[in-house]
């Protein structure tokens, strides 16, 4: 390697020896140049698929419906005054917060149960519990849609079996909201489970042994050892899941298509309806960008906490 440590025949470091190769050649040989060239394809992909669409969406959200005139924040102001959009904000927050809490709790419990199983049984259960997460959500949601069907569904068949009245799972606003949250939880809980399981495995056994000798009960070990040791992974999974859940599209699209009476619309499905189906692309872009500032601030706070704890050795 022709880096600064190379020694010339007369013992002079190459970096201060008289230049022999061309400037371009030397630039190409530098490690930083090589590293930049190797990451260039990735940078191009990120630039093309993330950075450009993001800024293009911002630009679009500030145009009129025919995309001929710059209207500033008019689209955002218009959306805020619209009752349906206020409902979408409420529903998105309700959907994301309750689904993330449910996924985190179920994932945490499952991870603990798996962690206590012997290694052989654990592998088998881990594989089975991950299945919901590896099936494409559009396909698994179709199965759920059938389960929720008012006339032929398995759930209502079971209810009929015990003499209960059938439930309009996807026809009643309350039950429909419950259904989309349930399916999202079913789909996302394995992700939390696997992340928490990895975090649990990384907590040294000796900390639990030290806590046992210090006098901690099982609950106190969880409270004072497990949870503080998992705070970083909990923060990151919650942040990641919150962003993905806010942006959810496929489950609502397949299960309820936003209905009944727009009562299950989220930012993603509403943006699709407004922007693509109704042909108002600038308004759709404004819908899709609405949560960005809030999520960005939330992410900054969480990541700052993660960074601080990492420096403290957690």
């Amino acid at each position: 390697m022709a880096d600064g440590n190379t020694i010339t025949a007369r013992g002079i470091p190459a970096a201060i020896a008289p230049p022999r190769a061309g400037t371009l050649q030397r630039l190409a040989r530098r490690r930083s140049t090589l590293a930049f060239l190797m990451t260039l394809p990735l940078l191009a992909v990120i630039g093309g698929l993330v950075v450009y669409p993001f800024f293009y969406a911002i630009e679009l959200s500030m145009l009129n419906k025919r995309m001929t005139r710059f209207v500033g924040l008019d689209n955002y102001v218009f959306l805020l005054g619209r009752e349906t959009f206020q409902l979408v904000i409420f529903q998105s927050v309700l959907f994301a917060v309750s689904a993330v809490i449910a996924k985190a709790l179920i994932g945490f419990v499952l991870a603990h149960v798996l962690h206590t199983l012997p290694a052989r049984g654990q592998r088998k259960w881990r594989g089975m519990l991950l299945v919901p997460w590896v099936i494409p959500p559009a396909i698994s949601t179709l199965a759920w849609w059938w389960l929720f069907d008012p006339s032929y569904s398995a759930f209502n068949w079971l209810l009929a079996g015990i003499g209960a009245a059938p439930v309009p799972w996807l026809g009643d606003p309350g039950w429909a909201r419950f259904a989309v949250i349930l399916v999202n939880t079913w789909y996302g809980a394995p992700f939390f489970m696997i992340m928490y399981l990895a975090a649990l495995k990384s907590v040294p056994d000796q900390l639990y042994e030290a806590a046992a000798i210090d006098g901690a009960s099982a609950w106190q070990k969880l409270r004072y050892v497990t949870l503080p040791m998992m705070r970083n992974i909990i923060s990151i999974t919650v942040l990641f899941s919150l962003i993905v859940t806010f942006a959810n599209f496929d489950i609502v699209r397949v299960l309820t298509n936003g209905g009944p009476q727009d009562r299950t619309h989220l930012f993603g499905t509403y943006a699709f309806q407004v922007g693509i189906q109704s042909g108002d692309i600038p308004l759709g872009a404004a819908v899709s960008l609405f949560m960005f500032p809030l999520l960005a601030i939330f992410a900054i706070f969480i990541l700052r906490g993660v960074s601080r704890r990492t420096k403290e050795g957690l």
Partner: protein, 366 residues
């Protein structure tokens, strides 16, 4: 504070692997006992059974006269210092030390008093607000000891606490541990694989091998009067030389016939002890420090013989000389002023007063 009793203690793991094979041990109140032995000898398992971190397969453990077999660790009134310190990384030094007392709902003033007192003993007063990551290995070790001291338990358990420290710090912390024990006088069970640690710290050393106790005794007794080949070889550094020999009786005096024609007289005062073994093949055991250069002395029973050194290791305060007698490596400890050279004949003096004879079949010292 309390005495600790182990009675016919057995630990079996899955697949019928027996880690501890029925040991008996009585540890007195205030005593500092060190369990020493090679990896896999069962010493750590024994300590963990005393702590309650491992279930007991058979036998009994009593602390302060109370059988604790079915009592969980938190109710045994013990404190343990782990090899990798096991400090809670999210807590400050103060919180780490106070944790056990907080869980036991001690008043805040009492917690502060105890932590300050332990911090003073261990000289870590200025570290109380730091997190473990900001501490050096030695400081972490002190905090781990502090966490044990504040509890004022019946028994201290140490599981190879100095293994993660560098050689210099290990010596320093060894002294600290001894000092702390002299101050708090709590009954202590200490596990190590380092015989120097065992010898320097212990009131009594328990040498374990292959799940059993080979010998128990004060360090000097183990050094001078080992009862088995294992103990003779394990205690002392460099290890004792074991040279195959034949014990012969000639004209009322016993002699040892070593390889390469070396014949050493057995001290007359040992004749009665060894006479029944005359004519047998034995192992002649002699520590390197008892095989030195020839020097003017009025000591009786010094036998000399000539060797050709094959490896010489100058250590500063002494020189180690290694040579081979028909495939058996033998070491001698010489004064550094002795001009030893590889290949040049050297006369060595064996202090036969310190010799040991071992039966090669039973591996017991005769």
């Amino acid at each position: 504070m309390a005495q600790v009793s182990l009675r016919r203690l057995v630990k079996k793991y899955e697949g019928d692997v027996q880690a501890v094979k029925g040991i008996d041990l009585e540890i007195a109140d205030h005593e500092f006992v060190v369990l020493v032995g090679p990896s896999g000898c069962g010493k750590s398992t024994t300590l963990r059974m005393i702590a309650g971190l491992e279930d007991i397969t058979d036998g009994e453990i009593a602390i302060g006269g109370v059988v604790v077999n079915d009592i969980p660790p938190r109710d045994r009134d013990i404190a343990m210092v782990f090899q990798n310190y096991a400090l809670y990384p999210h807590m400050t030094v103060f919180e780490n030390m106070a944790f056990g007392l907080t869980l036991r709902r001690f008043p805040k003033d009492e917690i502060r008093r105890r932590v300050d007192n332990a911090a003073r003993i261990l000289d870590i007063g200025e570290l109380l607000d730091r997190k473990p990551k900001a501490l050096s290995g030695g400081q972490r070790q002190r905090v781990a000891m502090g966490r044990a001291i504040v509890r004022d338990p019946k028994v201290f358990l140490f599981d190879e606490p100095l293994s993660n420290l560098d050689a210099k710090l290990r010596v320093q912390m060894r002294t600290e541990i001894k000092k702390v024990h002299q101050t708090v006088k709590t009954t202590t069970v200490y596990v190590t694989h380092d015989q120097v640690e065992a010898m320097t710290l212990a009131d009594r050393v328990v040498v374990m091998n292959n799940g059993i106790i080979e010998q128990v005794g004060p360090p000097q007794e183990l050094y001078h009067n080992p009862t088995t080949k294992f103990v003779a070889g394990f205690i002392g550094s460099p290890a004792m030389n074991f040279i195959p020999a034949r014990l012969e009786n000639g004209a009322g005096a016993l002699r040892l016939h070593l390889p390469e024609g070396i014949v050493l007289p057995v001290p007359p005062e040992r004749t009665k002890r060894y006479a029944p073994h005359a004519g047998q093949e034995v192992l002649f055991g002699l520590r390197p420090e008892h095989l030195t250069e020839e020097k003017p002395t009025d000591k009786a029973n010094i036998a000399t013989f000539q060797v050709r050194p094959e490896v010489i290791e100058p250590m500063g305060m002494e020189t180690l000389v290694h040579f081979w007698l028909q495939g058996t490596e033998v070491s001698a400890r010489l004064d550094p002023a002795v001009p030893a050279e590889v290949g040049r004949p050297l006369t060595l003096a064996a202090d036969m007063n310190r010799m040991h004879l071992i039966d090669p079949r039973t591996e017991r010292v005769l």
